[in-house]
């Protein structure tokens, strides 16, 4: 068994991150290296990879087999879909959304990045910033992933040359700043040789920054400061109507942002009624407050008509209305066109809507506007104007990733057609630059 002293795991924090990189940038090797060097690969998994590699006549174990889980992926040697990987160090737990770099990258990356605290954009040091890199950065910026890491990989193939790294970093940082991204950490590495992924490199003493894993372990994720406006989508009304809780009426939900304290005044949307927080129950235990991320049950002092789909807010209110102006990433093979009837799922509320207009598509390479007359096709991004049958309380996505986001759903078969982000902001930022 293991020769290391068993370390008793402790409660720690969680980091959700996504990786993006095209096929030949070495993403599978990077993910394999992170899992392997953080000792998150188990003996039986390695044995299975060894055996499968031998069956195919390969000399060395192919670490990509650790991550390619489906029959078709192994047969074709490709990655079809986002996979989630889990690993831990004594300092932190990690959930990695491993997004494939193939044709459907925009759709897959949107899926992986929507819940990520951090995105790793992988670049081959020999090629530098290419179109694919700009797409990855643009999608991560559009999805408002709070932190971005530029992983300059394959430094071993450019002689661990500092000037190569410096020029890639400068070019990438300039582009990312145009997208409004500020927090960028660039790490020179070789995933294949293990330089600066988990262990510091012996070949790049000119680099004084952290290894990738060190950065992942220490980056701050406690966003949602207490003075953000509070947003609480009501998921479910809890009314036991029995025993000691005959008169209990609680509004269950997960606080999307801010803090709600007992005694706080709140507004219920869309009705606009005012109320006071009388109690916060955190899964069976009374608390003085709820903070962003917690699933809780709120009790209000007033007896109001509140149900699933309502939004309880404090602080600066969201926009309330039936006209939605948003950036949509279209995810489905069936194109989205003006006149289409859709369902909009926003927090816990689903309403009917019609696509009024698609003013333009966004060319994700150049951030230029293109005519939107032809609609949005799969993997397209564009500005979409919707009219909803009932008012929605929407924040700008740039202010709130939960109350600013929505799904477009096909009312006929229930499939998810698009990912919406309220506020047409990406091209306005690009213009500002």
């Amino acid at each position: 068994m293991s020769t290391t002293t068993p370390r008793r795991p402790v409660e720690t924090t969680l980091l959700r991150f996504a990786t993006a990189g095209s096929v030949d940038d070495g993403k599978s090797t990077l993910v394999g290296r992170l899992l392997h060097d953080s000792k998150s690969v188990f003996t039986d998994q390695l044995e299975a990879v060894d055996a499968a590699s031998r069956r195919r006549g390969q000399d060395a174990p192919d670490l990509a087999l650790l991550t390619d889980g489906l029959r078709a992926e192994r047969e074709q040697g490709i990655t079809i879909d986002v996979a989630h990987r889990y690993f831990a160090t004594p300092r932190r737990r990690f959930i990695l959304a491993d997004t494939p770099g193939h044709v459907q990258y925009t759709r897959n990356m949107v899926t992986g990045a929507s819940t990520a605290d951090l995105a790793v954009v992988l670049v081959d040091a020999r090629n530098g910033v290419v179109a694919q890199t700009r797409r990855h950065a643009a999608v991560a910026a559009l999805l408002r992933v709070p932190h971005m890491v530029l992983a300059v990989n394959k430094m071993d193939l450019v002689g661990y040359d500092e000037s190569v790294f410096a020029s890639v970093e400068a070019e990438f940082t300039a582009y990312a700043e145009r997208l409004g991204v500020r927090a960028i950490v660039a790490v020179p590495m070789s995933a294949l040789a293990g330089d600066n992924v988990v262990e510091p490199s012996a070949h790049m003493d000119w680099y004084a920054g952290p290894t990738l894993l060190e950065h992942l372990e220490t980056v701050r994720t406690d966003g949602d400061p207490a003075d953000d406006p509070a947003r609480f989508p009501v998921q479910y009304v809890i009314r036991p109507q029995q025993g000691a809780y005959l008169d209990y009426r609680g509004y269950a939900g997960q606080l999307a942002s801010g803090v709600l304290r007992v005694g706080d005044g709140v507004t219920v949307l869309p009705s606009g009624l005012s109320a006071t927080v009388a109690g916060v129950d955190v899964l069976g235990t009374a608390s003085d407050a709820a903070r962003a991320g917690q699933s809780v049950t709120l009790r209000l002092a007033e007896d109001l008509d509140i149900s699933r789909g309502d939004l309880i807010v404090a602080g600066a209110p969201p926009r309330l209305g039936q006209d939605v102006d948003a950036t949509v990433c279209h995810l489905h093979e069936k194109p989205l066109r003006a006149g289409d009837r859709v369902l909009v799922k926003h927090t816990t509320r689903t309403v009917r809507a019609v696509v009024r207009e698609i003013p333009h598509r966004i060319d994700i390479d150049t951030l230029d506007r293109c005519p939107g007359d032809d609609g949005l096709h799969v993997n397209d991004l564009g500005r979409v104007l919707l009219r909803t049958a009932e008012p929605l309380a929407l924040d700008d996505y740039r202010d709130n990733r939960t109350t600013g986001s929505f799904l477009l759903i096909d009312p006929a078969d229930g499939t998810t057609r698009g990912a919406g982000m309220a506020g047409p902001f990406i091209e306005s930022e690009a213009r500002r630059a």
């Binding site: 293991s2 068993p6 370390r7 008793r8 795991p9 409660e11 720690t12 924090t13 969680l14 188990f42 003996t43 998994q45 299975a48 499968a52 889980g69 489906l70 029959r71 078709a72 192994r74 079809i80 879909d81 986002v82 996979a83 989630h84 990987r85 889990y86 831990a88 737990r93 899926t111 819940t115 406690d222 998921q235 479910y236 809890i238 009314r239 036991p240 269950a252 939900g253 997960q254 955190v282 899964l283 235990t285 009374a286 003085d288 407050a289 709820a290 903070r291 991320g293 699933s295 799922k345 927090t347 939960t402 986001s405 929505f406 799904l407 759903i409 078969d413 229930g414 998810t416 990912a419």
Partner: protein
């Protein structure tokens, strides 16, 4: 409800974050589906699922029934635990019996004696007959690489089938459970938990588990590198001999394919230390049915298995 806790100031711990996410998933299903059901085997993952559901709807009762697919080769300790929990919380339990299907000829016993793969038909029948539209399962993405691709809300067609190429993208915390009549949705609230998270949560919440998860002496025999418990399910064979060993179970399933591991871990804390040092995955150590082929889990999931 006499104590008032104070809200944490430096962000949620990983267990708090996972708990909040799972509770959110339970409540979404309660808000959007007509007839959800929770798969409950009496194993640790389903026990944690039930614990989360109890917390999610407190102080109201859990608004779902439970469903157990009984292979007929279950550990008696686990069945006793199951029945005790159901009675304690006043829950409704549906049981689908693989044995009945074998007895009346709808299923045929496999030559290798494994009954886990036989669960699929009774499971799909129970879902269809009761018109369940959402079925909670305790599956975790860390268990197996086909499961790493699984969504939290997983659409199943009228045959219960899973098509990994036709999965809906899953964005933010916006779960899309819309389905047509005959289809149902499998829901995995523990998707983002690992084996270690489950055990740490059990320790924190002081959740009771069946005794076979802890070290105990038991008559076992070796087969395919695992310690199996003799029983009416068919073991040991003539060439296999039993011995008495100190063991525990890492997973609890059908006796014919669930192996015990040598262990001295008698408490939750000792189990956590043992798992943290283990170089074997939970399934690699103790599940025979996943070793059938490189894609065993994926193939069963396509047919409607969890």
């Amino acid at each position: 409800m006499t104590t008032v806790t104070h809200t944490p100031v430096n962000g949620l711990t990983h267990l708090d974050a996972l708990e909040a996410e799972s509770v959110h998933i339970f409540r979404e299903v309660a808000g959007e589906f007509e007839r959800p059901v929770v798969l409950f085997s009496g194993g640790k993952d389903s026990i944690v699922m039930l614990h989360l559901a109890l917390k999610a709807f407190w102080p109201a009762p859990v608004p779902f029934a439970l469903l157990h697919v009984d292979t007929g080769h279950n550990f008696p300790e686990v069945i006793a635990y199951r029945d005790r929990v159901v009675a304690e919380h006043g829950l409704t339990l549906h049981v689908a019996h693989v044995q009945e299907y074998i007895d009346d000829g709808r299923l045929t016993e496999r030559p290798d004696g494994l009954r886990n793969p036989l669960q699929t038909v009774p499971l799909l029948d129970a879902i269809g007959n009761n018109r369940f539209d959402a079925v909670f399962g305790g599956g975790r993405r860390d268990e197996e690489k086909a499961r790493a691709k699984e969504r939290v809300f997983s659409m199943r067609d009228e045959f219960g089938g899973w098509d990994p190429r036709r999965q809906r993208p899953e964005l933010w915390r916006l779960y899309n459970g819309r389905h047509t009549a005959g289809e149902h949705v499998r829901v995995f609230p523990l998707s983002n938990w690992t084996e270690l998270d489950v055990w740490q949560y059990i320790e924190r919440e002081k959740t009771e588990l069946p005794g076979i998860y802890f070290a105990h002496e038991r008559e076992v025999f070796a087969r395919d590198g695992m310690w199996l418990t003799p029983g009416a399910w068919g073991g040991p064979a003539r060439t296999e001999t039993t011995e008495r060993r100190l063991v525990r179970y890492r997973t609890v399933g059908d006796m014919s394919c669930t192996g015990a591991v040598d262990s001295e871990a008698a408490t939750v804390a000792e189990v956590i230390t043992e798992i943290a040092a283990s170089r074997l995955t939970e399934r690699g150590a103790t599940r025979a049915d996943d070793k059938v082929s490189e894609a065993a889990m994926e193939d069963r999931k396509r047919e409607g298995y969890f």
